[in-house]
């Protein structure tokens, strides 16, 4: 495919997974990601893939654990409450260093929450979510095209690092339709000599495991993981900076919120306010360094999220007190309006709001 077609974000992720060579998908229905599971149900049999609707999100992530152990490219998707259920398996996937792609089309929470878009799973996605010291690579697209591109990249990153990659979207990105183009992918699954495939002539069995009963060996394993995470931080940080060169106010926003923020930023620019957008694309590893650089030239930061304030903590850590960091958030499935973001920008530009 090379022409642009109109697709929902959820469907674009599904097609991109197929382009990336994913032939195994395990999921459980939940709003607002159901178009994705439905797309995979329809699409995977056409390419001799395996689609399985599991009995629960817990089972689905464990099927992913099994399939990743067996050496294939595999994906699951869900939305916030379902992602909570997957945390057990995600921790095991981290412990066993298994590559896979997990999509969270976030909705409002906590609890059963709402079915409208949210960004309140940032902590869960970037700070662990399950038990133990581990990190998932977390990528946050802000358009349907980027959902497709990031999905393809996610499979490569997962294989490269033997790590789970979470695509953190939201109900708006999942449901909205935009033109999308699927470029031919050079993405190739890597050789997985560690996988449990059956020995097939191999002298020694392969074991996929996260259990280390001896504490010294457990610590050693943790050191291996931490070294890997440090390399990922060094090599895989992604962000976009728009109009930040001369900006006095830096808006920090990701995902759908960054799109709404751009409308507000453009209006403020038109009215002479020097404001730019810093958009983290990898939420973990978080682009702390480029933000710290911007703190040298900007006068103030303002963070927009659809949460009560989660990513703002990472922004404050990055800015490290050098400049004031303000916050404006909406929760529960409410999208911020360009008007309210514009007003917040103006108030920050006028030196109000401070820390």
């Amino acid at each position: 495919m090379s022409e642009k077609i109109l697709m929902k974000g959820n469907e674009a992720i599904g097609e991109a997974a197929v382009v990336a060579g994913c032939r195994h998908y395990f999921g459980y229905p939940i709003t607002p990601q159901s178009e994705l599971i439905e797309y995979m149900a329809k699409r995977l049999p056409q390419v001799d893939g395996v689609f399985l609707q599991a009995e629960s999100e817990v089972a689905a992530i464990n099927m992913v654990y099994g399939a990743a152990s067996a050496g294939c490219r595999v994906m699951t998707s869900s939305s916030s409450p379902g992602i909570s259920l997957k945390q057990e398996g995600i921790s095991y996937i981290a412990g066993s260093q298994l590559p896979c792609v997990i999509v969270n089309v976030q909705r409002g929470g906590p609890g059963l929450g709402s079915i409208q878009p949210g960004q309140a799973d940032y902590f869960q996605a970037t700070k662990g979510g399950g038990h133990g010291d581990y990190r998932n690579i977390v990528l946050a697209p802000n358009s349907v095209q980027e959902m497709a591109d990031i999905t393809i990249e996610a499979f490569d990153l997962a294989d490269k690092w033997r790590n789970a990659v979470m695509i953190l979207g939201d109900g708006a990105l999942g449901q909205m339709m935009e033109p999308v183009e699927f470029k031919e992918s050079s993405s190739k699954p890597v050789e997985k000599s560690w996988a449990a495939t059956g020995r097939r002539g191999r002298a020694k069995p392969n074991i996929v495991n996260s259990l280390y009963l001896q504490p010294d060996l457990m610590e050693k394993h943790n050191h291996v993981l931490q070294e890997k995470y440090a390399k990922i931080q060094a090599e895989e940080t992604r962000w976009e900076a728009l109009n930040t060169e001369d900006a006095e106010v830096i808006v920090v926003a990701y995902g759908i919120t960054s799109r709404i923020a751009m409308t507000a930023i453009n209006k403020a620019r038109a009215n002479g306010v020097k404001v730019g957008l810093f958009r983290p694309i990898s939420l973990w590893p978080f682009p702390s360094q480029p933000l710290a650089e911007l703190a040298k030239t900007a006068k103030a930061f303002v963070v927009f999220e659809m949460s009560a304030g989660q990513m703002v903590e990472d922004v404050r850590l990055a800015v490290n007190g050098a400049k004031p960091v303000s916050f404006h958030g909406r929760t529960g499935g409410m999208l911020p309006t360009p008007k309210e973001l514009y007003e917040k920008i103006i108030s920050v530009a006028n030196g109000e709001g401070g820390k």
Binding site: A54, T197, N206
Partner: protein, 250 residues
């Protein structure tokens, strides 16, 4: 020159196990390994260890192994099997793993007719964590979390998993066996072999429930625990075949 008539199965590694004296896990491991040898599938077998005393089974079998979260072995095995349909995939699970925390996973793997084989070791207690009440603990059985005996009015009756799964058409072979004497061991091995054959033939899900002792947590000698099993477990958990592989799905 004497002919060698007995030895360690190739599918079992030459390592000491952590199992307690008098525990049946070692025997059951051996029978599974013998079956893998006899079916000549060592090269395409993938085992899934669970959580419980058999968590370390991956250290003992000479086949590729995946260690699964508590109760999730049937889901993990499903993922493995769907990637390697020509693989021979088995789970090895205890009673707490399969009949409490993992009830949903085993029921749905069976319902889907997943082409995997489950070895279910039922010793009526949580062994690894130190002797707590299991879903298969008997009424009045004293455990560390039923110190006054399991009470039917609050804990209910023990779950007979094989009978329960026998209502599912996807479960093609279900048998309950024991390994408390040589005759029963022979029957147990035949059942395990049949279960693997059902999988290899692509017929559907198969499970062998093996009654087992836990002398350490039952607080008995190996010999006493064998007698206790016969007197108490076998009447409630009758040995037999609940789905023979001959039934035709309705």
């Amino acid at each position: 020159m004497a002919e060698r008539t007995f030895g360690r199965p190739e599918a079992l590694l030459d390592v000491p196990t952590h199992y307690c004296p008098g525990c049946h896990h070692g025997i059951i491991h051996r029978l599974v390994a013998e079956v893998i040898d006899e079916l000549k599938v060592i090269d395409r077998t993938i085992g899934v260890a669970s959580v419980g005393c058999s968590a370390l089974a991956y250290d003992y079998f000479n086949v590729d192994m995946v260690q699964a979260p508590h109760g999730r072995a049937p889901a993990v095995a499903t993922g493995v099997k769907r990637v390697h349909p020509d693989g021979v995939v088995f789970t090895y699970q205890g009673d707490g793993d399969i009949a409490a925390i993992g009830t949903a996973e085993i029921v749905h793997a069976a319902a889907r007719g997943e082409r995997i084989t489950t070895i279910f070791v039922n010793n009526a207690i949580y062994g690894m964590t130190g002797g707590q009440m299991a879903p298969t603990s008997l009424v009045n059985q004293v455990t560390t979390t039923s110190p006054y005996g399991r009470k039917q009015d609050s804990a209910g009756m023990p779950i007979r998993l094989s009978e329960m799964l026998a209502t599912l058409d996807g479960a093609k072979y279900l048998a309950r066996v024991a390994v408390n004497n040589p005759a029963n061991m022979a029957k147990a091995k035949a059942a395990i072999k049949k279960a693997f054959e059902i999988q290899i033939a692509g017929l559907g899900f198969s499970m062998v429930e093996v009654l087992s002792t836990c002398p350490t947590n039952w607080g008995m000698s190996a010999i006493e625990s064998g007698t206790w099993m016969e007197k108490n477990m076998m009447p409630y958990y009758p040995l037999g075949t609940f789905r023979s592989g001959e039934e035709v799905a309705k």
